[in-house]
Structure formats: structure tokens, C-alpha cells
Amino acid sequence: MEASPVIVSAPLPNVKEQARFSPYTNNGGTVLAVAGKDFCVLGADTRMSEGYSITSRNVSKLIQLTNKCVLASSGMQADIATLHKILLIRLEMYKHENGREMSTTSIAQFLANTLYGKRFFPYYTFNVLGGIDDNGVGCAYSYDAVGSFERVRYSSSGTGQSLVQPLLDNQVAKKHQPNAPLEDVVSEDVEQFVRDALNSAGERDIYTGDHMELKTVKATGITSQKFDLKFD
């Protein structure tokens, strides 16, 4: 039996419908770094999401570049993985050509150059670099996706950035606390604070949770820790 054709959907006149493939996605997550006098603490959650689904509860966003420098990245996991790989390769080449590891300040500049190199098809990565500089002073650098960077005492990025950054302003820089003494803090206190910040971000940001990794960079080396966050 012949069925007459049924029109399911008709395009509007004078409007061209275009399907558009987007090369980017945001896999969520929060990263932060707090620099102390002679150390730097970096923290990141380990959740990877796609839309409202969790694709992995255990993906690391932190990578140790040298024994004085750690990079934390949020954004699109594919670009993060590629960026990390490229940096490791180039750092290895530098070591062979120059007989020593790249200093943290140089890595900071190199990362900016690498990101700007793809200015017209950027790495969808929001980076925070942390470590100790050549004088042994703790440092943190924050970046945008195309390589604009600044050395700071603390920084955060990712889906939980807007939750964490005001807390850092208040507790690390002691903003709005004119009577609070700006004294040196020990790395254990900063580690606890970074844990609290990620816990709070995990409570209210749906893309942050599962586990958190902490890396502390000191002149003596880099220590790693892992803690649980909520799985919801």
C-alpha cells in the first residue's frame, strides 16, 4: 500500500539552517594554587564531566613539570592532555640542549608562548602554574586560554573559579580585614586551606567533586596527596 509522504519538519523560508560542529567542550573541574614564602601548594579535583554526566572520577589535572614546578589545568581534557604532553617534550629537549632543567619563571613564559602560538585555534585550557623560582621564593602564575599571564600570590580557575576566588581574596590576601596581620604561613596550614576551598567548591559546583589532589612544591621536593570529595 502506498503511503503519502509525511512532512516531519520543514525549514522556514529565507532561513538557512546550519549544523555546526564545535571543536570545544568543557570537561569541568576546579584548580587553584597558593604560593607561600618558600613553597607553593596546588590543588585540583579529579572529576571529568561531559554535560550532566560524569565520564571519569579519577582524571588528574595536575602535572609535575620539573622538581620545582607543577602545572594545574582546567577546561577541555583533550587540550589539557595535549598541552601537558607538549610541555613535557619541550622541557626534555631543553634539558638535553642546556644541561639543566628549565626554571619556573622560564616555564611560565614558555607556557604563555605555547598558548599564544595557537591564538587562532586556542587550547581550551585555563592554567595555573605553581612552584618555586630560582631564589627559592614561592610563586604562582595564572593564565587565560591564549597565554595572557601574570605572576600572583594565589589563583584559581575552572568551573569553580568564581566560588573559590573570593575566598582566596579574603583569606590569603586578607582583603576587607584591615586589622589582620599579614604573617608568613606554613605549608601545612595552606594545604588545609586549599582542601577546605575545594570542599566548598565541591558542595556548590556540580562539576567539582569525587577526589582532590594536592601537590606541594618546596625546595626539598614535591609531595603529593589525595583526598576524597563528595561523589554527588
Partner: protein, 206 residues
Amino acid sequence: MSILEYNGGACLAMVGKGCVAVASDLRFGAQATTIATNMPKVHRINDKCFVGLAGLTSDNQTILNKILFRTKLYSLREEREIKPSVLSNLISTMLYEKRFGPYYVEPLVCGLEGPEDKPFISAMDLIGAPLLAEDFVLIGSTVTEALFGICESLYRPNLEPEELFEIISQCLLAGVDRDALSGWGAVVHIITKDKVVSRTLRGRQD
């Protein structure tokens, strides 16, 4: 840009031990332009009941007039002051009546109620869906993330009025500093069973 983000603004309420605190910023702006720096978003209904309104300023003023009208009528008929939980319900109903052409407001209700002056806080979306919380509520679509992060960290239950004042002030000031459409100082009210203490804070004037 959403209509709710046009004027900016933020309002925060927290529960303490036998007290509630409510605070708001003071900016009144139209997108990037700041028009006034002395517009609080918290309004007194009676000594134990305050309403905060964020969202489109025009609708805030309209809704506030309607709320004042209804609460005054309530006092005349009932011969007693309206309780915060009742007011919260009243506002929720008023907003849902306009379900398909809503007021662009985000209300917050807080106060003390009952013979034991139990703290009560609640917030709503623009069509009146109520959110009853035990710890803190906040409104202002441009600042929610910034305020959630810091409130979640700094808040703890059973704070005395003076401590609660410090915590709510720090949370609000740090939160609005990261929002371009809110700020220019803050006003904080601490409501306890025998008095309301109001303080104006000078924050970043930008």
C-alpha cells in the same frame, strides 16, 4: 544579558544563634553604568521581618509596594504583625500568580518568629519557588557563584550576633568584589529578639 542581570545587586541572609543577619550591597546601575551608590536592597517589614529584593529594580519597587500594602492590610485585619514564614508564602503566591508573565525579582525573606524568636530565612526564584534553608540564602543572579563559594567556607552554625556580623560582612564584601555589577559598599542588619543593629560598610568603591 538576562533581564535579571540588568541592574545587578546582591543580598545575603544568614542564621545565627537566636539571631539572623541580612546584608545587601548598595549599587544601583544600568548594565555598565552606575547610577546610584546608596540603594540598599533590604527593606524592613516589621522589627522581626525583613525582605531583600534583587533583580530588576523596577519590578523590585513594584513588588515592594505590593508587599507593604499586603502586610499593612494583614496587620489591620489580624491585629498582629506578619511572621516571616507567612510572608514568604505570601510572596511566593504573589509571584506565581504571574507565572506566565513574571515579575523579574528574586526575593529573600528573613526574620525571627514565634514565641522563641526562632530564626527563619528563605529565598525564591522569579516565579515563587521557595527555598527554605537552615544556614544561609543569597540572591542576585550575577553574584551567586562568588557568594556561594565564600559562604560555604566561612559559615558555621550557632554564631553569636557579633561574630555573625563579621562573617556575613566578609562574605558579602569579598563576594561582590568579584562582580562588576554589585558593590559600592554594603548595609548589614543583625536582627535579635530585642533589637535590630544596622551598620553601613564602606567596601571597594568601584
